[in-house]
Subunit: 198 residues, 2 copies
Amino acid sequence: MSEHDKVDKYPSMTIGDNENNKRVVEKATIGVQLKAIRTENKLTLEEASKRTGLARSTLSKIENEQISPTFSVMQKLASGLNIELPQLFTKPKETKVTGRRDVTLNGQGRPHATLTYEHELLSTQLRNKKMMPYKSRVHARNFDHFGEWVRHEGEEFLLVLEGEVQLLTEFYEPATLVVGDSAYYDATMGHLVISTSK
Amino acid sequence: MSEHDKVDKYPSMTIGDNENNKRVVEKATIGVQLKAIRTENKLTLEEASKRTGLARSTLSKIENEQISPTFSVMQKLASGLNIELPQLFTKPKETKVTGRRDVTLNGQGRPHATLTYEHELLSTQLRNKKMMPYKSRVHARNFDHFGEWVRHEGEEFLLVLEGEVQLLTEFYEPATLVVGDSAYYDATMGHLVISTSK
DNA sequence: AAATAAAGTTTCCTATAGGAAACTTTTATT
DNA sequence: AATAAAAGTTTCCTATAGGAAACTTTATTT
């Protein structure tokens, strides 16, 4: 292997440069990550070797991006160094909303109407939030307005701001909620909110 | 390779059974995961092969846990199948609140008072929620009640139910919020809420 | 600043991953 | 139910990962 080869073996390894031409911008930094984790823990290659059961040389090569470790090696790394697997290739988490906030004054949210609901989406300036807050006015007055359960990934929390609604969910009896009442539920279970106000 | 070998190659591969005797309970299911993802997307091995740029045979062997894919292969999988890398070895998230809900009537939450806030924790019956909803009455009337910024992991959404408060955050001017106003912010950035009601 | 020790890298070899093609099994079609 | 087509598996080979030991570099001690 020539000197040039060594340096360029995994040059900047752009992920997914496959025939479909799907290109992912992120770089493969498993070596860099590993070295960072090891040095932060003040471990030598020898010590890391003992903990992971991997050869000193193997660790060195991974750190210098000379080889692409197998999944089983990655598992030994995570286990031996007491970290979660994704830490090996995920840069220290940067929340997408890092250092940002978004204030939405009453009634200034982005409107979004459907047949059954009138939503006011809140904090729409912030992208990639973990929560999607919104205020809703409920029009639906019975199950038939929907036809079937609403289901989707994630969890929902609701708080009644005015009037009276019924929360219908699979497996449970309907719950009548008035101002100040709230509920939290798994959204993969069928759910609906209907209005029982006048 | 004997029939027995084939079956047991990666028998139930308990991770991290290394000399430090650190034992991780989780199983290595990258093959199972991959197969699940592929079939859910109604892809044949051939199609998956085209998308990822990997050989049909390689995919088959990975799915049957006959080989341990290298990191670079895992990247091609994630990229080609349009998934996040950790999805390959993390079982489809089973929310801890699966199939459950928790209704909290007004004033029936669990009280939790501090010097500066009077909290009413909501939906405390459900454990391991992704969100922690609560109503708070704010006592603090200036920064000095705290001494320094509040900081923690995650994101916060707040909605004013009555009175008037000021939201103080690093990097931003204070925001005055009245009933119906809301805000969303990164909680790792210093933040405080103080009361400006009478 | 030599000598020694410790940490890290490279080489060389063996084991295993990944690809091409043959083979087997399953599904669809007549 | 026989045939064809499609999907999946296995074989066989080549390329590359991983381990042992030699080698180089960096830090430490005298």
